[in-house]
């Protein structure tokens, strides 16, 4: 039977994890997330050229001439561009499109508008508000559920502490995803959209799931072997659920990797956020949630003594 002394190195894990979270928080605060048009309002135009693809300077010049100075032009694949601008009404949209056509289109070089989105400030404000509410609600729902699921367990650690530690692990996972996306946003221009929020909320669910499975096992061990040392029991639970955690995470990541590599650009970042978060969820349940449980118990007894 596998028996890795996870709990023995509690301090190491806690320090590593705390550093990770602090780094991510610093990244988030200093760099911030690059918000997409879902949250800021604005327009996104995806164009492909059937034959001759103009270079970026040419595109920018045309847009500059149209007083779209803030337009950001990005290459998309081999034969296209993504153009981001401020909010465009339909007339402005058609105006830009017809000017680009006049400039670059010829009989054998067609411009196709594959995708166009324009989001006004009313909608982006609404999406922002809803996203925050959704995050708050998911958290509340999960805290209540965890408290309920562990209601019968109060010895040697009070049931609300399980709930609290589940949330600590969860904050770690969320911050890791947010920190990495802050980096990606800064260096690669990766934007954060609705899909990202959905990925975060899904990660919330997964992170909790992983932690719950470990805690469930510890709880079961507690009822069966009451005499043993608490730290040993936690370690035993961890080892018993280790293969499950690894396999489940791996199995969940397999289709996500497929989605990441094969699913096309639209779901690329969505899949990436899920991959980071779910992997982190497995990590945090073993290396954060469980060691902290032992620490919590130690403090409890320390106070009593």
């Amino acid at each position: 039977m596998i028996n890795i002394p996870f709990i023995k190195y509690t301090k190491v894990w806690i320090v590593i994890s705390a550093l990770t979270v602090i780094t991510c928080i610093i990244l988030f605060v200093t760099l911030g997330l690059k918000l997409g048009i879902d949250f800021t309002g604005g327009s996104l135009m995806e164009l492909t050229f059937s034959k001759n693809v103009p270079n970026i300077e040419q595109m920018q010049k045309v847009l500059g001439d149209l007083h779209q100075k803030n337009a950001v032009v990005q290459k998309l694949g081999d034969n296209g561009y993504i153009i981001r601008t401020e909010f465009l009404n339909e007339d402005q949209h058609q105006f830009i499109l017809s000017n680009l056509r006049a400039e670059f289109e010829s009989s054998d070089n067609q411009i196709h508008e594959e995708n166009f989105q324009t989001i006004g400030s009313a909608i982006s404000t609404q999406l922002r508000e809803r996203a925050i509410w959704a995050i708050v609600l998911v958290n509340l729902g999960i805290i209540i559920y965890v408290a309920y699921a562990f209601r019968g367990v109060s010895r040697p650690v009070a049931s609300w502490k399980y709930g609290f530690l589940v949330i600590v692990a969860l904050i770690h996972d969320i911050m890791l995803v947010v920190g990495i996306f802050a980096l990606l946003g800064h260096f690669k221009g990766v934007e954060v959209d609705i899909g990202f929020v959905v990925a975060l909320l899904t990660v919330l669910g997964y992170s909790v799931t992983d932690t719950i499975v470990v805690y469930d096992r510890i709880r079961e061990n507690l009822t069966h072997h009451s005499a043993q040392n608490f730290a040993e029991m936690v370690n035993m639970g961890l080892n018993q659920t280790l293969m499950r955690s690894l396999n489940t995470t791996f199995i969940t990541l397999l289709p996500l990797f497929a989605l990441y590599f094969l699913g096309g650009s639209t779901v690329h970042n969505f899949a990436l956020a899920l991959i980071i978060g779910i992997a982190s969820g497995a990590y945090s349940s073993v290396f954060i949630a469980s060691p902290l449980l032992v620490l919590a118990q130690n403090w409890h007894f320390g106070k009593k003594a």
Binding site: E90, H93, Q94, H112, E113, E114, N115, F116, Q117, T118, G120, A122, I123, Q126, R130, A131, W133, A134, L137, V138, G141, I142, Y145, A149, I194, G195, V197, V198, L201, T202, G205, Y206, V208, T209, D210, I212, V213, D216, R217, E220, Q240, M243, R244, N247, T248, I251, T252, L254, P255, L256, F257, A258, L259, F261, L262, G263, G264, T266, V267, F270
Partner: protein
């Protein structure tokens, strides 16, 4: 606990029935997902046995806009000017008008037009699947077709300059001289017809011996006044001014009309004239616009119809005005007999008929050069009427059909690759139970897809992502059970009791983890926008179905299969203990 109760004593017979019904369910779901094969089979049976079995619905999945291409538009209604109590009703009215426009005008068969209220903002969400020309759609939805009736403008753009005034006066002085000469000639005994030929400057009447036609007091009140004091055949002895110039007129005949006036039956007169053109300021400086607004518009319409001209067969749009419109139209046509009026649609003239006689019954036709299609479209647009509340387009998302198809193919490929990778991993790692989990996973996928189809879940890209993610959830339950089984086998339990124990023990973890996933989904569904909802709905359905397949289906199959093996299992089961086989064997 529910799971434990079920573990006791199920007869082999019952078990076989259960496996059989799971098999039937799977086949049914597969047929539902791939109806082509099912229907081929059913058709074959129908042909052979001549029984009228119904076919499976051949429809595909409900694809979202991001997969089939289309447009998603959000409009904001400007309701400031409307009292609070009427706002909901007027926004519903906007919804109805927009729906009529997209259904009728654009021919989108399954548009989704719905209203939402966010805080105090009223919005209308319009989804147009499969549409390619979004620009036209936006025009058609947002713009009221403005039908206007205009008459010729007679106000000059600006006052005349001194030079122009002189030019006009010189011209008119010459006209006066010419008219006097004509009057002298007629008074001197010249035939009226000869005078027309000699002097008249009006081509239309000149060709017809000066005959203007029947007049009443609306356009040529001066002629009418003169004619009513004189007899048929008389010619005026002096020049008579009309709005367009100087005239010598002749009363030809008189007719009674149906109209009554103060002095008995109103009469109209057949008049001929010798016309000498006099210039007005407007002849020198053209009016600001050729046409001026009459106030009559599409608002006063009661209904429109597509008709055909009985003589030429030309397609035309018949208009019927309401009471107010009928009165206005009568006034306009009275003013404009002999002159054109213009019918403007969205700011450009589509038909400029000349008014032959006043139209008093409030009906008119627009006879531009319409195709039947255009005429129908115009009629529909006019009938659907104006939006009760002005709307602004505040968000637009458009996906080209190619991109949609591409996304669909890619995500399908990703899903399939993920599914296969998961099954291979399960088999390699867990061996025989892994195979069973693979079977359960295939059953899971077909049941979930069948449910998507049955309850009409709209599959979006995010929805497929949710489904792909739920594969992991489905297998997680199996992994929890198999890990337990491994432990139970290691601790020396027999295959069957170990298996039952594993299911019972793994249940709380499975339940808790699924419930937390469902909590996330519930919040996401509430969150509500398209991307999020698609993801959350498929993930939630996936989680629920996976509870069924991973627990009930896998356990049933395992119960059937395990007795085929030795009590303590063999290499096909992870955690199998070689030594314990001997020590436990009795």
């Amino acid at each position: 606990m529910a799971v434990r109760h079920q573990t006791k004593s199920i007869s082999r017979e019952q078990l076989k029935w259960r496996v059989f019904s799971i098999f039937l369910l799977t086949v049914f779901c597969l047929l539902l997902v791939f109806p082509i094969y099912a229907n081929k089979g059913i058709d074959w049976v129908n042909k052979k046995a001549n029984v009228g079995l119904p076919n499976f619905p051949a429809s595909g999945f409900n694809l979202g806009l991001d997969l089939q291409g289309g447009a998603h538009l959000i409009y904001q209604a400007n309701v400031e000017s409307i009292p609070d109590s009427d706002r909901t009703a007027s926004v519903e009215g906007v919804r109805d008008v927009i729906e009529r426009r997209v259904r009728g005008g654009l021919g989108v068969s399954e548009p989704l037009v719905q209203t939402t209220k966010v805080n105090n903002d009223y919005r209308i969400i319009v989804e147009l699947p499969g549409i390619t020309d979004v620009n036209t759609a936006i025009k058609m939805i947002g713009e009221t077709p403005i039908l206007e009736f205009k008459e010729e403008d007679d106000k000059p753009l600006r006052p005349l300059t001194a030079e122009e005034t002189k030019e006009m006066n010189d011209f008119n002085a010459k006209a006066q001289t010419k008219a006097q000469a004509a009057l002298l000639a007629i008074n001197g005994g010249m035939e009226f017809a000869a005078g027309v030929a000699e002097y008249s400057e009006e081509e239309r009447s000149k060709a017809n011996a000066g005959v203007l036609g029947l007049i009443d007091d609306s356009i040529f009140p001066e002629f009418y006044k003169w004619a009513s004091d004189h007899a048929d055949g008389e010619v005026s002895k002096e020049l008579i001014k009309s709005f367009d110039g100087l005239n010598i007129i002749k009363r030809i005949s008189v007719q009674d009309t149906e109209q009554q006036s103060a002095s008995g039956t109103k009469k109209i007169y057949q008049i001929a004239r010798i016309f000498i053109k006099v210039k007005q300021p407007i002849d020198i400086v053209p009016p600001a616009e050729q046409w001026k607004t009459t106030g009559l518009s599409g608002k006063q319409l009661k209904k429109t119809l597509v008709t055909q001209d009985s003589r030429t067969g030309q397609v035309q749009v018949s208009l019927q005005f309401g009471d107010e419109g009928t009165q206005m139209f009568a006034d306009i046509t009275k003013r404009s007999v002999g002159k054109p009026i213009a019918i403007f649609l969205d700011g450009s003239p589509i038909s400029v008929p000349v008014v032959n006689e006043p139209i008093l019954n409030g009906s008119a036709v627009i006879s531009g050069s319409f195709s039947l299609q255009d005429a129908k479209l115009l009629s529909q647009r006019l009938n659907s009427g104006a939006l009760p509340v002005p709307v602004d387009l505040i968000s637009q998302q458009k996906v080209g059909a190619t991109l949609g198809a591409d996304s669909l193919a890619k995500s399908f490929k990703a899903g399939l690759a993920g599914l296969i990778a998961v099954i291979i991993f399960m088999i390699l790692y867990y061996r025989l139970p892994g195979i069973l989990a693979g079977v359960a996973l295939v059953i899971y996928a077909s049941v979930a897809l069948a449910i998507f189809k049955l309850i009409g879940v709209t599959l979006t890209l995010s929805g497929i992502a949710g489904f792909i993610l739920s594969i992991g959830v489905a297998v997680d339950a199996n992994i929890l059970v198999f890990e337990r089984l491994k432990e139970e086998l290691k601790s020396g339990k027999t295959l069957r009791s170990g298996m039952e124990e594993a299911f019972v023990r793994a249940w709380p973890s499975i339940r808790d983890s699924n419930v937390s996933a469902l909590i996330s989904c519930a919040c996401l569904i509430w969150f509500g926008t398209g991307f999020v909802k698609g993801f959350a709905v498929t993930l939630a359905i996936g989680v629920l179905v996976s509870m069924f397949t991973a627990i009930i289906v896998t356990r049933t199959i395992m119960r059937l299969v395990l007795p085929w093996f030795k009590e303590n299992g063999n290499w096909a089961f992870l955690g199998h203990q070689k030594k314990s086989v001997e020590s436990q064997a009795k």
